[in-house]
Point group: C2
Chain length 425, copies 2
Amino acid sequence: MSDSAHREMWEKLDMDLEAHDALLAVLGTFYGDIYLSQENRLKGAEYLDFVLSEVHGLRIKELEQAKAEGRKVIGSFCVFVPEEIALAADAVHVGLCAGAEAGTELAEQLVPRNTCALIKSFIGFKMAKICPFTESSDMIVGETTCDGKKKAYEAFNEIAPTYVMEVPQTKTAAAKALWKTEVLRYLAEVEQLTGVTITPERLKRGIQVANDKRRALQRLTALRAANPAPISGRDALLVNQISFYDEPIRFTTKINELCDELESRIQAKEGVTPGTTPRLLLSGCPMAVPNWKLPYIVEGSGAVIVGEESCIGTRNSRDLVDESGDTLDAMIDALVDRYMKIDCACFTPNTERLDNVTSLAKELNADGVIHYSLLFCQPYAHETLKVDKALQSEGIPMLSIETDYSMEDVEQLKTRVEAFVETLA
Amino acid sequence: MSDSAHREMWEKLDMDLEAHDALLAVLGTFYGDIYLSQENRLKGAEYLDFVLSEVHGLRIKELEQAKAEGRKVIGSFCVFVPEEIALAADAVHVGLCAGAEAGTELAEQLVPRNTCALIKSFIGFKMAKICPFTESSDMIVGETTCDGKKKAYEAFNEIAPTYVMEVPQTKTAAAKALWKTEVLRYLAEVEQLTGVTITPERLKRGIQVANDKRRALQRLTALRAANPAPISGRDALLVNQISFYDEPIRFTTKINELCDELESRIQAKEGVTPGTTPRLLLSGCPMAVPNWKLPYIVEGSGAVIVGEESCIGTRNSRDLVDESGDTLDAMIDALVDRYMKIDCACFTPNTERLDNVTSLAKELNADGVIHYSLLFCQPYAHETLKVDKALQSEGIPMLSIETDYSMEDVEQLKTRVEAFVETLA
């Protein structure tokens, strides 16, 4: 696809071409520095490079083609929005732009300054007209996972109509019942949007496709337990990031191929860094494309990242939907159960997460954990203290990082991360 | 009751006497400056002065007496915890300390620094052992109204066992069903705590007592529409603050007496300030005792406060529970309906609040509104922008203040408030 065809498409989507060009230019340089500069990269990383380079190009073209065929595009910002339902209705389920400092000043007209970078970013991307996913979406789905997003969707709704799902705050039977009602309400909404009646067969297929994707990601996670680390944390994060944008069946095939390559590497005891490299687990807030700041700093400090305990990581792939049900009701119950297993900090209590972080750190043979909170993200800031305590009791050291998307604190973070890595060597 | 008897009681409650003495000394000076210095005060204010001076003394003695009689004390931090149920079980329902900068450094061991002052305060009061209400409580009830409190209760629970009610985030039928389940779960918990079976007669009485208190507060609100203002905003805020601590039947009688006095004043066209004084409505976050900082600044700037649109204000008194039901189920439904009318910023959407703020400003003949957000309170910070827009469309000017409990910004706030008041004169 030629550059001019891309531009024509973006123009049709009513994007701001000049601002978007500037974004792509920065992104390109950034990607070159952080990704293409890596040594001992996997052959399978070529696919990642290609997908990322065409994430605003060919992938959007695919969405346009899907729409031309009468299919619908559903965009969301959170792992609580059930992809299975979109897939069952033959819709395309995509993540929306939220990982770069873009349009921040515009966003601050709609939300308070003390709002986390991710929220400001998704509002900024929309206001600056530089997210082709948002512009391509026939439906945008929000949720009530934190005060910041919950209230921001009210403002966002004025510029981009947003359907909001209520995620409960506990995991009691009554809370689960509320979530089931919300899943059913969403299913009806998707049926209305797409004109597709979601039959048991369709939902079964949707569950299978989403589960297959999760199984591929689980395979990748498990392989990273090997020493030396067969893949960089940056590349593994990219896989998780791309999982929100790419066509799911193709993605699953490609990630399984990448895992085949990892297995050969592991057998040959090859790695991206020597076996003596300190191994770190990242834990906390999601890192949306192109938020590679901390992984770049960490892997530039003589450590290697072996896992991401976050929504753009194991939190989204750990739990499968039970596939044994054959009726719509059984499958909906299976969906509800699966989503209520998510150990998001939005729940109270959320002790599962403490168990999950410590067991993941052990499974992946991590020497330490870096807990990552976005500034002003209250749920994860609160859990930082608890995760630290849980890890301490298992003798696993932790460093807490609170930051945003700006580059102002890079030197300071480097110093702190390097000092932490030194203690692990 | 002698001072030494008080001290003995506090010691029995395992309070830190030295730290508590220091708190009372500061509070006393503060109260003298802010309250006792007022001119044209009501005769009924003597009761307020007395209650406040004995809030940690005689009132705690009353709680101890109630406990000696086998009654239970239930403490809470939020207007969503149904007082009617405690009253029905012959328990004492009280608010807990949360309005002063106390034990902040201790609190920051349990919650992030970027936590609002109210939350840090309730944790600090407990850790510093200076809140006799917390120490007297047989049960502490939290709720999920914001991320900050929701997650803070997890930490608080480790030092003071806390029962948490899930308040939903929308007002859909499913959300209401969740809330009904939570009300019933709480009722069962209170029955177990108290050993009292809550009969329809008991609940009816509880509803009546709570409604009578609200009716007295509604009467006070309505009388403040008069010009000149018959009561200072500080004294009216104190009435609302005391409503969380005082014995409800006595309080209702006293507030109705105070309203009688106000009516005489209004008839005589007497006021606390001249009829030309700019009239302001405060709107936003609750001001817990002894958080009088902003009212003092406002009324020291040549304005008078004529209403408090907050949880310690009209948000807690505006809606009554329907009293027509006779069965337990009908009364529970009435309770659920009443509590789901609360226009807390925790709900999405929460457009009722915009209507309520503008209509209240008009009813009270306010010349302007000061929107008050506690720093790091995300729900109210988000709504600040919306309230401003709603008021603007009605031609009502608004000033937005974001602050905490420290005195560092007093001069800066004074300058801003004075400038705002000048534009209204």
